[in-house]
Structures are given as structure tokens and as C-alpha cells.
Symmetry: C2
């Protein structure tokens, strides 16, 4: 079944791609202070695009860090209201030397557009705006539903500002369902709705040993080494099977129900292909008694994202380092309370810090895991529309990532989120050479428009 | 007993200090390619100083990396020949932000001169040149012994060039004893000769996990993490008591003999003070069944000098890192064969690399431990001269550091080395705010001159 907007989208393909390309050129890296102005520029770009698409009440909302953007079109009385969410900030692009073309100079190769943020989330959130633009064109300046947009610039840094904004603006944001395109198709061509997301606690640990870097000849054997102390500590977090050793961390972990496991077993999946084509290592790791799906969707993790300490330049320097730092996160699954896990982690660090070493933990962000009820009408209609557009049954999966706003919408607005993403598993999110397939961009615009058309038929 | 050169040195104190200051201004960091020209400039500075001191046959010898400098004065027939060794290269100065004044802008405070290399080894090796200059002045242009100088610019990077040079120039370098000032007084005012040095194997380990950095949400729990893999591996190198777990590593370790232990017990030493004033941590670490002296002088070590991998910028980035690197060394004690220890280490790494991770080891430098015979006449006269100048008995100690050239001299020239250093334990070698006490600089010049005078009385 074709979408009503198909002719319009086809006619405008090259313009839609040019606009996305301009958007991707803006290095809106939210975590790096030197890109603050670029993030602001990206916000203005989004606001301008919303205005040109015919959205009203477009606001750039200043926050303590990076701006939020709000817009709406509320002229469909009696029709449902959809709250579109996305983010215009991106992950840092490093390591830069691994990019084939520069991360902020979008490059088209083999039907893909390569750039930081191409898929996560600029390319995907831009589809919402283009779908609205297309629907207004084919429906004589009207939309089939009421639409609200709330777009943030802090998703990659914990999303504090939107977390503060949502509970204070419940009426303004009132909707029947939220729509987020920040996930992926389970496999190429398979319509996929995500109904579960892991939560996240992200911290930084600093270890201190001697008061200053010491000569390793003169003090080696008797002086504590901050780098080694941190290594010793972190190594105790997991056993050789990847089982986390922090006491109590599995207490609230609920195994997925048998029906869900059964549906996972029907997904097109090759562990061999996952290992070779996606992970690209010699072996998978993790809990051997858990399936790969369970490991990445339904189990908590303990991950070290980065570590730095001592001398790491070219050649040799014989120091006993005074300090070392690591970025450490834990992914959470439904029922795990972030505060409780954080406390358990803090106690564990205290109890396991080696002698002679002092440690400090800083919390950088925190959010619970999310479950979406697959029986909600918005989700059901989305699944049907998705299936109609791609010509296959929609699969319901979870994602191991974290989109904290989905939890905020559930808690404060009482609405579920349609997690309808069009990324592909090899899009390289957070990696060098991130890409988004251009046909998925157009397909996403059509599918979102079709979902909104269909949802608008509900009273 | 005053040294014959005392009046000359006193008269020239400020010039001697100015010259050292000029020397310290040259950032001759041998490990950093961007300082190659500075290293060459330091070599020219040394050659010029030797010429002005009246040394002859001054040569700047090109090598594959940084130049060697040779000079001699051989007009004392029938007298012993002393081979003076030192190095004009320095360690990298980082972390720069911990220096009170910049590392290559020498600053005088509280009777100390602060600069990278002030003590290690520019300040100390320069004493040899100034002692020669002073002796020629007071002995009508002559020296009490034959002197040869061999100065290198690669001590901090493994000293490959001098290692190649020495065995090829045995006749040219023929001497009765070598003299090296690159060690420290055991305590302020205590004449100290070092008769043992640890060896060193310095390596770099690289760990590889996934083919690229992965999104930790989507892959966390199933994909190997290069940083965590390296952490797991390195954590297994020592138990909680600092006992190295590499099979066979203690096989050839010989405990110090009871007489030496007895002499260590008489050294003025407070573990509390060592902990608080030198190490500056909450506790010492290492093997509890070994004394602090044994731990730093007579036991092998396993040290991680630096580690880097993944995201370590400001804020949060949720990646599973593809690669990680660490600088890892082992200090060796007498009888340990570097090649055998390296093989044991390589096998251990292979056996303990976690699944999904690949590791590679690169050897950056290697040298055996050294023992000096305290009964050699050169050592005995040095001990007496030292004692006469400082008014206290000379103590014989070991050092935990490594001066590979001492082993080369023993092996290829068949001579022992007088390790007569004037640094202090808190001089901060290899650390920010490295210093050298100015009165020790003058004292060193007097003592070295006195030793050469006394040694010249031998036939």
C-alpha cells in the first residue's frame, strides 16, 4: 500500500537530501564545550526547518546547556495528538583517523550518506519534519493528526534539560502517543518496533596513588600505582564469563517472559554473521548461559568506555603514575532502580579499591530502563502501518541502548512511545564512518506519514 | 679534608650555575621526535663545554638516533684512566600543569634549581666537566689521572646507540674504572656509593577487540571491549600482595646476602617518612614479606606506566573501544636474564589474553641488572674520598633504577663503575618539579675532583 505522500516525496528527494546534508555539516557535538556554538546553530537549523514545514509556535528554548526546540500544529480537533521527539546533537567523532571522509563533510557512497549523526539522530529526526511537510502538501495545508515536536540537543550527554522541562510542561506536551525514530530495523527490510530499552548509569572514576608521578626504578615495588590500582579495581567488576560481581546488581533483574523469548527466536539472526560483520572480533563475550539477545537487551552490563593515566606518548617513560581515570557505565534492565544500582556500585568501589589508592566517582548521567505496552492503539496502528509499507510482518524487539526521554514521557505525560526507527545494524552509530542509507531516509518519511495518516483515522 | 679545587670552585660558583642553567634550558627530550633538534643542540652544548674545560679530541659522534660525545685528556702516563659517563637527554616533562615553573625555564627557589634534567642527569654529568676544568686550573693545565668522557643522548629511551658503540671501541674506551653520577645520596649528607642496579624490560602492549568502536547499548554484554580486555589481562600480573604471577619470573632471583641486609638495616630510614614525604600516598604496596629496601632494590617489579584507550574526553561517550594500549615494564634483579623474562612475559600474555581480544607486544628496551664489586681499588678510593669530603662513613646501597651502560662497561671493557651521585631522594626525577640542590652541585664537583686527585696517587 503506497503512502499518500509518495509522489510528493519522490519529486522532492534531492531537495530533502540536500537539506539533510546541510544539517549534517553542523558539528553539533554536545559533550565538547568548544562546539557549543555549533550546537546552537543546529538548533536554529531545526527551528527553521520546522517553520518551513508549516509547523507553528516554533520556539528555541534556552536551557542551562543546549537549547530545546518546540513546535506544534493543533488544528485537527477530535484527532489524536502525536508528540515527535528527536535530538540534533551528536557523539564526538573521534578517532578521526578512522573516518574515510571527514565526519562533518557528508559524503555519499553506495547509496549511503556518511557523516556523524547521519543515522543518530539527525537523519532520523529530520524524517519527522519532512513527513509533516509532505502531509501538509498532500492534504491542502492540513495534517491528519495534531502534531507536537520537542527536539533536544543533549541526548548524547544525559538530556538533563529536557528531563527538567517535561514535568514542568505537562499540559503543553499533552499527547496520545510519542513518536521517536532513534532505533534501527532489526534487519534490512524488516519493520521493527522497539518495545524495550535499557537504562544507563554513566560515571567517571578517578584513582589517586602517589602524590606525584614517581620514578619507577626508585619506587617500583613499594609505591602504589594509580593506573594499576584502577586496573585491579575494574578487573574485579566481572568474572571471566562477564557476570557482574557488584553485590545485589542482579537482584531486581527479571528474565524476559517465555513468549518474548519465543518471538526473539523467530528473528532472522546469525550469531556468526553478528560476530563477523557487526562486532568484527574473534569471539563474542558475555554470560554464556544467556542468549545474545538476552545479553544485549535483557541483562545489565558493566562497561569501561575509556581509560587514561600515566605516560602514553611515543617511546618509554618510567613513571609510576599518580592518577588515572576511567569512564564506566552500567546498562540497566526493567525493574532495576538506577539509584539503587549506583549505591551498590559506590559501595563496591569503596570496598574494592586497592590499598594505597584513593578513588572518587562522579555520576555523569542516569536513567531507568523502559518497557512499552505493545497493545496500546498507537503502537498497534504503527505496527500495521509499518508492515503495510515494508510488506512484511512487524517484529517487536528490545534495544540495548538507552533513550531516557521515553521514560520521562511515560512517567510525566502517561503516554507510550512508538519507537519506529529506520537505521540498519551496520550504520556505525557512535563509531567512525557512521552512515544512513538514503533509501531508508525516504522510506522512513513515507512510513511515518502513512502511520500519521492511519492514526488520524482513529477518533 | 678540603679538595684542592675548593678555592677555584668557590670563585666560579655563579658562572658554573649560569652554565648549568643554559644547559637546562635546552628541551632535550629524547623520546619525542619533535625535540630531535633540541637533543642535537644539547649535544653541541656538551661538546663545547668539554672543549672549554680543556678536554681534547672532542667528537660529536652521529648515530642512528641521537649523538654520542667523546673527549679525552691522556697526558698522565702511569696513572689510572677514568671513563666519565653521563647523559644529556631528559625524560618528557608532562604532566606540564603540575610544574610550578616551566620545565625548561630553570628557576631557583630555596637553594634548588628546578628544571627537567636538573638532577637526571644534566646537573650531575656537568659536575664531571666542571671538576676536570677545576683540576686543570689548580694543577697548571694538567689532570691527576687520564680522563675519557663518553656522553649519550638516549639514556631515557634505551641507549641503543651507546650499546652498539662500546663493544666496537674497546681500545678507545679502555679505562680502569668508569665514573657515573646518575644516582642519589641515600639521605642528605650521607656519602653513598651504589653497587647494584636493577635491569629493565620495557614494552608496549596493544589490545584489539571489535573491528571498530561499537555502541555500548547495542552491543554491550556480547561484544569484547579492548580496554576491559587489557584491564583483565594486566590485573592478573600481580596478586593483591604485589607478587608477580608470571610463571618462572622468580626462578633466578637471589635473595641479598645477610651482610648486605645487615648493612641496609643500619641505613637511616623511616618507612613512615618514606611513605609521607616521598611517595605521598596512604599506604605502601608490594610484597609484605619483603623489606622496603628489598622491594625496591632486590625484587623484580611489574609496572604499568601508562594506559590509554576509548573515550577519555570531557563528558560521556558510550562506546565499546576497539583498541587499547599500555606501557608495561619489568625491573630485573641480578641473575635474571632479560631474554628469559621477556619470553616468560610473552607466553603469559598469550595465555591470559581474554577471549575475543587480540594482543601484541612491542619491546622498547631491555637490559640486565648490575652488581659492582665493592672491593675494587677504584671503588674503595671513591668511598674514602667521598667520606672525607662529607665527613661521614660512605654507605653502600643498591638502586632500584636501571643504568644499562654500567653493564656494558662491565661486559665489554671489563671495568667496574663508581656510581657516585649527589641527587636527593626528593629531587623528583621523572616527575614534575624535578630539582637539584645547588649546594650538592658544588659539593659534587669538589668530591669528584678529590676522588680523581686521590685516585691519581695510585700507581
Amino acid at each position: 500500500m503506497p503512502s499518500t505522500v509518495e509522489p510528493f516525496v519522490q519529486k522532492n528527494e534531492s531537495r530533502f537530501l540536500d537539506e539533510l546534508t546541510d544539517f549534517l555539516r553542523i558539528p553539533s557535538v554536545s559533550t565538547l564545550p568548544e562546539h557549543k556554538d555549533d550546537v546552537a546553530r543546529a538548533a536554529r537549523f531545526v527551528a527553521g526547518s520546522l517553520k518551513r514545514a508549516g509547523l507553528e509556535n516554533v520556539e528555541i528554548i534556552s536551557t542551562a546547556r543546549h537549547p530545546l526546540i518546540y513546535a506544534d500544529w493543533l488544528h485537527a480537533p477530535g484527532k489524536p495528538t502525536v508528540l515527535c521527539y528527536g535530538h540534533y546533537d551528536v557523539q564526538p567523532p573521534d578517532p578521526l583517523d578512522l573516518w574515510t571522509t571527514p565526519p562533518f563533510e557528508p559524503s555519499i557512497r553506495n547509496g549511503n550518506i556518511y557523516a556523524r549523526g547521519a543515522c543518530d539522530d539527525k537523519g532520523q529526526m529530520f524524517m519527522h519534519i519532512k513527513a509533516a511537510e509532505a502531509l501538509r502538501d498532500v492534504h491542502d495545508g492540513r495534517l491528519p493528526v495534531n502534531l507536537k515536536f520537542l527536539i533536544e540537543g543533549e541526548e548524547e550527554v544525559g538530556g538533563e534539560s529536557i528531563s527538567e522541562y517535561v514535568p514542568k510542561h505537562k499540559d503543553k506536551l499533552k499527547a496520545d502517543v510519542a513518536l521517536v525514530s532513534d532505533t534501527e530495523l532489526f534487519a534490512d527490510g524488516v519493520p521493527t518496533l522497539c518495545i524495550g530499552l535499557r537504562g544507563l548509569i554513566y560515571t567517571e572514576i578517578e584513582a589517586h596513588g602517589p602524590a606525584r608521578d614517581l620514578h619507577s626504578g626508585m619506587y617500583g615495588g613499594a609505591a602504589p600505582n594509580a593506573v594499576y590500582g584502577l586496573i585491579e579495581l575494574l578487573s574485579k567488576a566481572k568474572d571471566a564469563n562477564g557476570h557482574i560481581q557488584i553485590p545485589g546488581i542482579y537482584d531486581d533483574v527479571v528474565p524476559p517472559d517465555p513468549a518474548e523469548i519465543e518471538s526473539w527466536n523467530r528473528l532472522p539472526f546469525s550469531e556468526e554473521q553478528f560476530l563477523k560483520e557487526e562486532v568484527g572480533s574473534t569471539q563474542l563475550t558475555g554470560e554464556p548461559d544467556q542468549s545474545v539477545f538476552a545479553r544485549v537487551w535483557a541483562r545489565p552490563t558493566f562497561e569501561v568506555h575509556g581509560i587514561a593515566g600515566g605516560f602514553t606518548g611515543a617511546g618509554a617513560k618510567t613513571v609510576i603514575p599518580a592518577t588515572a581515570t576511567a569512564k564506566v557505565s552500567m546498562r540497566l534492565v526493567p525493574k532495576q532502580d538506577p539509584q539503587r544500582v549506583l549505591s551498590a556500585f559506590q559501595s563496591w568501589v569503596k570496598a574494592n579499591t586497592p590499598r594505597g589508592i584513593r578513588t572518587q566517582i562522579r555520576l555523569l548521567s542516569s536513567g531507568p530502563a523502559i518497557s512499552v505496552n505493545p497493545n496500546h492503539p498507537g503502537i498497534q496502528i504503527a505496527a500495521r502501518a509499518f508492515s503495510e509499507m515494508l510488506g512484511k510482518p512487524t517484529v517487536f524487539i528490545r534495544s540495548g541502548g538507552s533513550i531516557p526521554i521515553v521514560g520521562e514521557f511515560a512517567t510525566h505525560l502517561g503516554i507510550p512511545t512508538v519507537l519506529m526507527g529506520f537505521g540498519l545494524p551496520d550504520d556505525g552509530l557512535h563509531s567512525p564512518n557512521e552512515k544512513y542509507r538514503i533509501s531508508n531516509y525516504y522510506q522512513g518519511i513515507l512510513t511515518i506519514a502513512h502511520f500519521l495518516d492511519e492514526y488520524g483515522k482513529q477518533q
